[in-house]
């Protein structure tokens, strides 16, 4: 007779205990980058809402940004690295194929032997990782999960590219997810559409570069208008579904924190979602630029720091980007 297997179970609920973040130290204005793309401050503001973007120095990498954001989040949660038993880093700009950034980060934080792995879901990566963290906690697989969205996008820009490079910034945001007595993370509505894999892309694969070194360093490109149409009009229903599955309405929402891709996408989504004026809308993109996986936690941190929202308020967050991939959930703010 075989033994009956025991499966782990966890607490009924999870929540975000703290959010921290760090932006690249350098403030890069539109005038600083307009020359090589034959553009202007006015054009960039009108098209994107971006006034400045934050970029890290040459001596700072994704791990450095991750560590700074993680330490901020841990301090706000009143936890030590040793209290973390799982680390998830979402990034598309870490230079090592292996090992994962998360394992190295865990060691830096004193979190070893925490489970550690990276997520590759571009600008949706933070929301993907929050979904993972929520599941790990409620399944009893981890007690405190560190989620980091970290990008040094400036390592993959082409100063002459008019499609995406001028939008991009560097930074990292981190959240600690742990057990809760009350519901703190709503159901995640997520998905992908690999049929649009070319909409946001790397110019060429590393293997192409190996075959033909004259191709040079790969950088990012996007089909801007197509991505705008997809994001502005197809992501609003995803966000609406996240509210419905969480059992809340726009009137219950304190903050709307979409991925900070373009101010005009944000404005169109607000219109589509018919959010009331009472909802604080994250517009961190104006000063920080598009920091991919870092944008949602950084934008949330700003809303909290500026007193636009308070602990306990509900935030509707949605990430969307290269893949194409997307994920949305309603969370209780720490």
């Amino acid at each position: 007779m075989s033994a009956t297997l025991r499966q782990a179970t966890g607490p009924a609920y999870s929540r975000i205990l703290a959010i921290g973040g760090v932006r690249g130290e350098n403030v890069v204005t539109n005038d600083d980058i307009a020359g090589p793309i034959d553009s202007s401050d006015e054009w960039i503001r009108q098209r994107t809402g971006i006034v400045t973007r934050r970029r890290a120095g040459a001596d700072v990498d994704v791990l450095d940004l991750s560590e700074a954001a993680a330490r901020d989040a841990l301090a706000r949660a009143g936890l030590q690295g040793a209290d973390v038993d799982a680390v998830i880093v979402s990034t598309v700009t870490y230079f090592h194929q292996t090992p994962a950034a998360a394992a190295v980060l865990a060691e830096r934080l004193g979190a070893t032997p925490a489970a550690a792995f990276d997520v590759s879901a571009a600008c949706a990566g933070y929301a993907y990782a929050i979904a993972q963290a929520d599941a790990l906690v409620r399944a009893g697989a981890a007690t405190h999960v560190l989620v980091v969205g970290a990008e040094k996008m400036s390592d993959f820009i082409d100063p002459t590219d008019r499609s995406i490079s001028f939008l991009l910034g560097d930074g990292a945001g981190a959240a600690i997810v742990g057990p809760s007595d009350t519901p703190g993370i709503g159901p995640t509505v997520w998905g992908s559409d690999g049929g649009k894999a070319q909409a946001i892309r790397q110019t060429h694969a590393w293997s192409d570069l190996r075959e033909d070194p004259s191709l040079g360093w790969p950088t990012l490109r996007q089909d801007g208008p197509s991505v705008f149409k997809w994001a502005a009009f197809q992501m609003a229903p995803v966000a609406a579904k996240a509210m419905a599955e969480a059992g809340v309405t726009p009137a219950d929402i304190g903050a709307f924190v979409p991925h900070q891709a373009n101010m005009r996408i944000i404005d169109q989504m607000i219109k589509q979602l018919e959010l009331p004026d009472t909802v604080a809308v994250a517009r961190d993109i104006a000063e920080t630029g598009n920091t991919s996986a870092a944008s949602i936690p950084l934008a949330t941190r700003r809303l909290l720091d500026e007193g636009q929202v308070r602990s306990g308020d509900l935030a509707l967050q949605i990430g969307f980007g290269a893949g194409l991939v997307y994920a949305a959930q309603v969370v209780v703010l720490p």
């Binding site: 009108q46 098209r47 089909d223 208008p225 197509s226 705008f228 149409k229 502005a232 005009r264």
Partner: protein, 82 residues
């Protein structure tokens, strides 16, 4: 029931007016979206999306760059109706 060219033009003019603040009578067949109406690529995608919804047609992203004038869009939408 298919929309006539005149109905498509009238409906499109309303959509363009809503997006740009221009008066509907500024939206004439010979007008260029970019040169005459000052509509950028992102506003154009907003207009296209609303036109798809209003007229029940699909305007592929790759097709949008061929819609130079209001007349081009009216012709495409009229022809795309099943």
């Amino acid at each position: 029931m298919a929309y006539t060219e005149q109905e498509v033009l009238a409906g499109l003019a309303e959509i363009v007016a809503e997006e740009t603040g221009l008066p509907t009578d500024a939206v004439a067949l010979e007008k260029s979206f970019t040169d005459d109406l000052d509509i950028d690529s992102l506003s154009m995608m907003t207009i296209v999306t609303h036109a798809e919804d209003k007229f029940g047609v699909r305007i592929p992203d790759d097709e949008v760059k061929n819609l130079t004038t209001v007349g081009d869009a009216v012709s495409f939408i009229t022809g795309a109706q099943a």
